[in-house]
């Protein structure tokens, strides 16, 4: 018999603070963490703003030897996992460690580690590269470290599907717990985007906003990159109830699709297929969905395409559907996006309050949805979706239920 899967622990480190309560406070106040960049030389970039994790001191979380082994992206994943596991008050036994899974998402892995090594090699003519470059840079570094720290010895792996990475990761973990393949899962993602080489590559794409992130607003000018780690603890509802755990909500459905259309341009059909697949997987009708945490990157292409896709899936129900992009506050955290937005969506259902689309100025006829402009709104929504649509045309959508 498949298990109903609930989320019993949440952890998040982002531009909105170093823990889930700071994160939720900012979201519920509609407060953006986007600000002028401090970690790179802004004179070398056309765009000037980002969603950096402020006042982050690795020494608070790791000893010197661990810091040497962990790129910033992996640190964020581990910090978030520790918070989620403590939040869930998991009582580890050897049997549980053997039956638990870890699935993480990362788009880019240890970019700054690689950047530093190549500056030495190509610019400073230092012919030796740090031997820890490979273990620091690998996309699975966070998953492996979480395994080492917790002693989890079950299925542990990392998914890299650009901006859909951690929705794919959480979806896989959800299916494993639902089927009984895993008794518990730590799932989420992390990303550290602020290395000069990586930022220059994004600059060349010409989709980073010169000011801030204004999803669905007519005057939107592109995305804002952000750093984050976000992790969830998933377990069967029966287990959570038996041990008297707090429960944030249920994951009820997961849907995936590929556009098979274009390597960077999104397709409304692909996005719609993934949303429909999540609804079917969860046995939910479109009319039951009350809130969508949108992919909402604030690029011209995404927001208009996502609007068409939502209209195609929900038809007339769109009039009673609220949609917001919390990327307006925590930025686009790429491989962590699905995870940080899953946390936002679960907390929204849990608290009965939908976070807004911040920085919103004016309606765009191409994005004619109720996007909860600038101010959070109380909600009786029972079901919600969280969308992730990646470069490469790979889409992943999660469906959640309030409990």
């Amino acid at each position: 018999m498949p298990s109903r899967v609930v989320v019993t622990g949440l952890g998040v480190v982002s531009a909105l603070g170093h823990n889930r309560s700071d994160f939720w406070k900012a979201l519920s106040e509609g407060r953006s963490g986007i600000a002028p960049l401090t970690s790179v030389d802004r004179a070398l970039l056309r765009f000037q703003n980002g969603a950096e994790v402020r006042d982050y001191d690795p020494v608070r979380y790791f000893d010197e030897k661990e810091i040497g082994l962990l790129d910033r992206f992996a640190q964020y994943g581990v910090v978030a996992a520790r918070e989620a596991i403590a939040d869930a008050a998991v009582q580890w036994t050897d049997a549980l460690r053997e039956r638990s899974a870890i699935v993480t998402g990362s788009c880019a892995g240890g970019q700054s580690t690689e950047d530093d090594g190549f500056v030495n090699l190509y610019q400073k003519n230092i012919p030796r590269v740090n031997p820890l470059t490979i273990p620091r840079g690998m996309e699975n570094a966070a998953a492996s470290r979480i395994s080492l720290e917790t002693g989890i010895v079950g299925p542990t792996y990392t998914v890299s599907t650009a901006c859909s990475s951690s929705n794919h990761a959480i979806g896989q973990a959800f299916w494993m717990v639902r089927s009984g393949a895993a008794r518990m899962a730590i799932a989420g993602g992390s990303e550290a985007v602020f290395s000069l080489g990586f930022l220059k590559a994004w600059e060349a794409m010409r989709i980073v906003s010169p000011d801030t992130c204004r999803p669905f607003s007519r005057d939107r000018r592109g995305l804002i990159l952000g750093d984050a780690g976000a992790m969830l603890v998933l377990e069967p509802w029966d287990d959570a109830r038996a041990r008297g755990s707090k429960i944030y909500g249920e994951i009820v459905g997961f849907g995936m699709s590929s556009d098979a259309f274009h390597i960077t341009q999104p397709s409304p059909e692909g996005a719609a297929r993934a949303m429909r697949a999540a609804l079917v997987d969860g046995g939910i009708s479109p009319a039951e969905i009350g809130y969508i945490n949108a992919h909402g990157t604030a690029t011209q292409a995404n927001d208009a395409t996502e609007t068409s896709a939502i209209r195609a899936v929900f038809g007339k129900h769109v009039e009673r559907l609220a949609v917001s992009s919390t990327k307006s506050m925590h930025g686009h955290t790429l491989g962590a996006a699905g995870a940080i937005e899953a946390v936002a969506t679960l907390l929204a259902l849990h608290h009965g309050l939908m976070p807004p689309t911040a920085n919103y100025n004016e309606p765009d006829p191409a994005c004619d949805l109720d996007v909860i402009p600038n101010q959070a709104r109380s909600s009786q929504a029972e079901f919600a979706l969280s969308n992730s649509f990646a470069f490469g045309g790979l889409n992943a959508v999660l469906a959640f239920k309030k409990l």
Binding site: R46, V208, I263
Partner: protein
């Protein structure tokens, strides 16, 4: 650099980036006619920036839809004081 010379160089850059023969790319070609999509477009602008050692702002980049747009944009950037055509004639 004359306007004709600039146009020739832009045609060469676009033909090379799109793997087209040069005769396919005329001074009057639009990006749509040449099958240039948004990703091809930013790739062409990258090649143009490298060739002329200029920086094309994102806002300007978004308005470029044809060979003529590229030529006029470069001309402006090479001499912002004078504006497009005048700069190239000089």
């Amino acid at each position: 650099m004359s306007h004709e010379e600039l146009t020739e160089r832009v045609r060469r850059i676009i033909a090379s980036a799109q793997h087209l023969t040069e005769d396919k790319v005329t001074a009057d070609s639009t990006f749509a006619e040449l099958g240039i999509d948004s990703l091809d477009g930013i790739n062409i602008l990258f090649a143009v920036e490298s060739e002329f050692n200029i920086n094309i702002p994102d806002d300007a980049a978004q308005t470029i839809r044809s060979v003529r747009d590229v030529v006029n944009g470069i001309a402006k950037l090479l001499d912002p004081e004078l504006g497009g055509q005048a700069a190239v004639r000089a």
